[in-house]
């Protein structure tokens, strides 16, 4: 990993939780062609905390999330300016491969996407096997550990060889979280992880998010204000590609400082 080579520019917004900074984003702009989807965003995201990203559709929140594990690079029209450091390491440094970044920064998507032809356990270990791990005992250990962390072990321990798609929607989403955790990332990005789930499955995911922050730094994009209020420590509000307000979640949802935040969280626009 690259190390700090130059002093960081001053952050415009400080992390609100008083914890160490996991992700330091400075002057981040992302363009698709001529269109700026993110405009000069600077933010420090606290380690071992849950940070929620909220904002109306098209505000750049998913693009922001994708930039943190270099997924927007998959779009050939995308262009990025600025800097993102993960525990001090510049993740866009030329000598850093995107695959290494994605190992350190896991991602869970809106719709659960287990590999349909693989079993439950194969889904969990796929990343490890791609990274060359062959030892059966180690793979089994990591499977159990990851499924336990994803609060799924008790439900699937007797059917580890069953097809992943035989699980319920909520279980499939937790399987995807287990798969992301198996490679032992430092940061877990979640893009609307519960939007397709019923209230009970949603509650399980939210409880899991709160449990996981002990070991991971979590960034979650959500349209559900109550979900952000329930599960996050800090909340960032994006609008039209700009970071409008960032602060402790309780403050954002009870007394936001910016009128645009107030209008959004009270449903006056968006």
């Amino acid at each position: 990993m690259a190390t700090l080579s130059k002093p960081m520019p001053n952050a415009t917004l400080e992390p609100p939780t008083g914890k160490a900074t996991a992700l330091a984003v400075r002057g981040l702009s992302i363009y698709f062609g001529d269109h700026a989807v993110l405009k000069n965003v600077s933010i420090d995201i606290a380690a071992h905390a849950v940070t929620a990203i909220i904002g109306p559709s098209g505000c750049g929140k998913s693009t922001f999330l994708r930039a943190i594990n270099r997924m927007h690079e998959l779009n050939p029209e995308a262009r990025m300016e600025g800097e993102i450091r993960l525990f001090g390491d510049d993740i866009y440094s030329r000598d850093v491969e995107s695959v290494v970044v994605r190992r350190r920064v896991g991602m869970v998507f809106q719709k659960s996407n287990p590999f349909p032809t693989m079993s439950v356990s194969e889904n969990v270990t796929v990343g490890l096997r791609l990274n060359g791990l062959r030892d059966r005992r180690q793979l089994a250990e990591r499977t159990e550990e990851s499924l336990r962390m994803a609060a799924l072990w008790d439900e699937v321990k007797d059917r580890l060889q069953a097809p992943a798609i035989s699980l319920s929607g909520g279980q499939q989403q937790r399987l995807c979280i287990a798969r992301a955790l198996a490679v032992q990332p430092e940061v877990l990005l979640m893009d609307e992880p519960a939007s397709a789930l019923d209230p009970l499955a949603t509650q399980k995911i939210e409880d899991l998010i709160i449990e996981l922050k002990k070991d991971y730094t979590i960034v979650i994009v959500t349209h559900n204000m109550q979900q952000a209020a329930r599960s996050s420590d800090a909340t960032a509000f994006f609008y039209l590609g700009e970071l409008i307000e960032y602060g402790p979640t309780t403050k954002i949802f009870t007394k936001p400082a910016q009128k645009r935040t107030e209008d959004y969280v009270t449903g006056r626009f968006g």
Partner: protein, 218 residues
């Protein structure tokens, strides 16, 4: 398309204002009954207290309905403040009832020959209630903040009256029963001022999201 949540919020606000005007009238009438030795008016205040109680229950139900929709920011503050304001109004109504009860009893006995500044105490407490409610309607945080220190003046005047009545009782033991009625009525006015202060503090929270209760520095 109508925003049903906003409509619900406005209904809640209107209901609270209706309750407020009832509570204000109850205090006015109870003080009048006391000063004018008006037995019938005192009985009316007591009977009308049920209406104020019903408002409190209705407002709580409306607020709980709105809370199920998980409001945030100023909407959340309005709903929670409405519940607290209605509770204070209900207690103002209770205090008015207590004054009315004393007014009823005093109306049936000969007057005590003592000069009391009860109209001034009542005027101060009533003005605090009125101003607190106005600050809620206008969402005027500065006006609400200005109400809070007035509570101390009411407390001081109540103490003065308490002392004067205590002395009168010692000098005229035959008036003890009647003087105790006056002490209780004055204490109720002092409590009404406390509730007005509470409402003012809630208005500050509503407007500024700043909790100024109990002088706690955050």
């Amino acid at each position: 398309m109508d925003n049903h949540f906003e409509i619900g919020l406005e209904d809640l606000r209107q209901k609270l204002l209706l309750m407020a005007s009832r509570a204000e009238s109850a205090v006015n009438d109870s003080v009048q009954a006391l000063m004018q030795r008006n037995y019938d008016l005192a009985m009316k205040v007591r009977a009308d207290d049920d209406i104020i109680d019903a408002f409190e229950i209705e407002i709580d139900e409306m607020a709980i309905q709105l809370l199920t929709k998980a409001p945030l920011a100023s909407n959340l503050r309005l709903v929670t403040v409405a519940m607290k304001v209605s509770q204070n109004l209900e207690r103002i109504g209770d205090e008015a009832t207590k004054i009315a009860k004393r007014a009823r009893d005093l109306a049936e006995e000969p007057p005590v020959k003592i000069v009391l500044d009860l109209p001034r105490l009542a005027g101060m407490a009533l003005a605090m209630v009125k101003d607190a409610l106005d600050s809620f309607v206008q969402r005027d945080s500065a006006a609400a903040r200005a109400i809070v220190p007035r509570d101390k003046e009411v407390d001081a005047l109540n103490r003065e009256m308490h002392n004067a009545l205590a002395q009168h009782m010692m000098a005229n033991p035959d008036t003890i029963g009647r003087c105790l009625h006056w002490i209780v009525a004055a204490k109720s006015l002092e409590r009404i001022a406390d509730h007005a202060k509470n409402i003012a503090e809630e208005v500050v929270y509503l407007c500024e999201a700043q909790d100024i209760r109990h002088n706690l520095k955050k």
